[in-house]
């Protein structure tokens, strides 16, 4: 007999010798002794609850996680290496594919870093439009997070509501850029296109009705006993631990650290918008949920303010060395054609030096670090991937929890494997 086999003396309800009904409790002859033997469980890379191609090798003692060893790289595409062979504008399509749940704010992050490197000041209209792009991205990313996490924990309805709202933003994204996912919205020094005519009206309609859905999700989940029971006190990280593990974004704020790049190192004029930094208290999965939910309200506020102040004017800087001339101009004006040719063939040269710009992405601080040696292609393009760094705290958070809690904790990190593996 293998030591894994446990002999059970099964007793089921029946009748005793006298014919009277008897209920005998179901007991095991011997308590199964499973404590000594650990089980190695492989979860992923094709498991639906690992949110992509994350693979977790979990050492289990019964149902308790003793150790969790993540394996990454199944989606590694070498974006950083590819970037070294591309002009700055050609890198922008790569950024779509890193954090593909918020492509527009990735585009903005890279453009800001390249502009910092080249010393370009973007126009007021472009600044506000980029804020709109970032906050739209935050909403869709948080909606995906909310939907998938609620599915992981057994609630199907909020998933449908969240994805319906996300679809409305995707429609707007498609109106603006022509693509739902691979937006490639920005260019160094501006944007690929101005917003179309009906855009402002539709976005206003969205900001007016979206809080209603958020309220419904709030009502369904926040005081739901199952939801609270599965998320409260699970995967707790204290403020000191969160800082020590370099967490950022909602993960850091849920642990009670009020750090938000938009407030503390403002870019795109975020200091002029009126919004609150949402901070949690306990640093568990539930607080991360509350932080992300409230951030959606705050993003809606920012969107409304941005629409109110949206100035007229050009979206691109007035510099023919950086911005491509219009096709009509390039075909009719000799000088414009030369600039067009030089930009396409040689690219925009950046001066020698380096620049790092961190922006508050939905997942955390997305950093773009560009090092230039004076040519049109960067020597090094480094993405500081927020979900990669947040995920590195997963083994610590999962230790001692049940396997089913590991799913909740992993969901609460809000990873997107395109960015983790790059």
């Amino acid at each position: 007999m293998s030591k894994r086999t446990v002999e059970l003396e099964l007793a089921t309800p029946g009748v005793d010798a006298a014919g009277r009904p008897a209920r005998v409790p179901l007991t095991a002859a011997a308590e199964p002794d499973l404590g000594g033997e650990h089980l190695l469980l492989n979860m992923g890379p094709q498991h639906p609850a690992t949110h992509g191609v994350l693979r977790l090798v979990v050492e289990l003692d019964g149902e308790t996680v003793v150790r969790c060893i993540p394996h990454l790289g199944y989606l590694h595409s070498g974006f950083e290496k590819l970037g070294e062979y591309r002009h700055y504008n050609q890198i922008i399509p790569l950024t779509d594919r890193t954090d593909y749940l918020s492509p527009m704010s990735n585009n903005v992050g890279l453009a800001l870093a390249a502009e910092k490197l080249m010393g370009i000041e973007i126009t007021p209209r472009c600044t506000v439009l980029r804020v709109i792009a970032c906050e739209m991205s935050r909403i869709i990313s948080h909606m995906v997070w909310l939907g998938t996490t609620s599915i992981d924990l057994g609630a199907f309805t909020p998933f449908l509501w969240a994805f319906q709202e996300r679809e409305r933003i995707y429609d707007l994204q498609e109106m603006w850029t022509g693509a739902r996912l691979t937006t490639s919205l920005t260019r160094v020094g501006g944007l690929m296109a101005d917003i179309p005519d009906q855009f402002v009206g539709k976005l206003r309609e969205f900001t007016r009705t979206f809080p209603k859905t958020l309220g419904e999700i709030d009502r369904v989940l926040t005081r739901n006993a199952v939801w609270a029971g599965r998320t409260q006190g699970v995967g707790t990280l204290s403020a000191a631990e969160a800082i020590n593990h370099s967490l950022s974004g909602p993960m850091l704020r849920a642990s009670g650290v009020p750090y938000d790049v938009r407030k503390d190192k403002p870019y795109l004029g975020y200091e002029t918008y009126d919004f609150d930094v949402v901070v949690g208290e306990h640093g568990d999965v539930f607080d991360r949920y509350l932080v992300r939910l409230e951030e959606c309200y705050q993003s809606t506020r920012i969107l409304e303010q941005a629409l109110d102040r949206l100035p007229d004017g050009p979206i691109n800087v007035d510099d023919p060395r950086v911005i491509l001339p219009s096709k009509t101009q390039a075909m009719s004006d000799m000088e414009a054609m030369i600039f067009h040719f030089k930009q396409v063939m040689e690219g925009v040269k950046a001066p020698v030096g380096e620049a790092y710009v961190g922006i508050e992405n939905p997942k955390g601080e997305l950093g773009n670090y560009l090092v230039s040696d004076g040519t049109a292609k960067p020597v090094r393009w480094r993405i500081r991937p927020p979900s990669f760094i947040n995920l590195s705290a997963l083994p610590k958070m999962a230790e001692g929890h049940l396997l089913s809690d590991l799913v909740a904790i992993n969901a609460s990190v809000d990873i997107v494997m395109g960015e983790v593996d790059r």
């Binding site: 650990h38 190695l40 950083e80 290496k81 380096e354 950093g367 670090y369 020597v379």
Partner: protein, 197 residues
């Protein structure tokens, strides 16, 4: 005064770059983290830069931030190409350095002394083509496409589990003989020498 300070520079984004002597990196980092008035308690990122100019040393770059003072600083350590590519790990100060240093090791082949678990992270454990972000690494990899496909199809289970995990599972008894022998020998991928320039 930061221990081991060699020189300072200003980046194009206005941040201060501090070059630190390699031997005194850990001392400098501890000073920056623990000295009142410095309080750089948050490690933003760790990365490395290799320049196209072969003569220039590699740089290991640390981005530090003080959450209380809302200030950033960039620390750099220069590693000569001819020298051993190794620096001290800052894992003892920030646990966030764990995966970041593993990634730099994986992509550049820079060793972090004192790191508790320095393994490849994005590439698999038996990856044998070298370090992808080094400038002498061709964009399409060192091996031919056919060889890459052949290796991918021939990956044995030890390519999917680390030795540590196989020892947790006590799986050795269940493995075929040849695989067990290879595990006992501690077989890993072999890093080929870079092609002559």
């Amino acid at each position: 005064m930061i221990p081991g300070l060699l020189r300072e520079a200003v980046a194009r984004d206005g941040e201060t770059i501090v070059y630190v002597a390699r031997e005194r990196l850990l001392e400098a980092m501890r000073y920056l983290k623990e000295t009142p008035g410095q309080d750089y308690d948050y490690l933003v990122d760790v990365t490395a830069v290799e320049f196209r100019d072969r003569e220039r040393p590699l740089e290991v770059v640390y981005f530090l931030r003080s959450l209380t003072r809302k200030a950033d600083i960039r620390i750099k350590v220069e590693l000569q190409q001819s020298d051993e590519l190794a620096v001290d790990s800052v894992y003892s100060l920030w646990h966030g350095a764990d995966w970041l240093e593993r990634e730099v090791f994986d992509m550049f082949g820079i060793t972090f002394r004192g790191h508790p678990d320095l393994r490849r992270i994005l590439m698999w454990e038996t990856y044998a083509e070298g370090y992808p972000l080094r400038k002498n690494f061709p964009l399409r990899g060192r091996f031919s496409r056919a060889e890459q496909v052949r290796q991918a199809l021939n990956l044995n289970p030890e390519g999917h589990y680390s030795l540590e995990e196989l020892s947790i599972a006590e799986a050795e008894g269940d493995l075929p003989d040849d695989m067990r022998d290879r595990l006992r020998r501690g077989e890993r991928g072999v890093i080929p020498d870079p092609p002559a320039p």
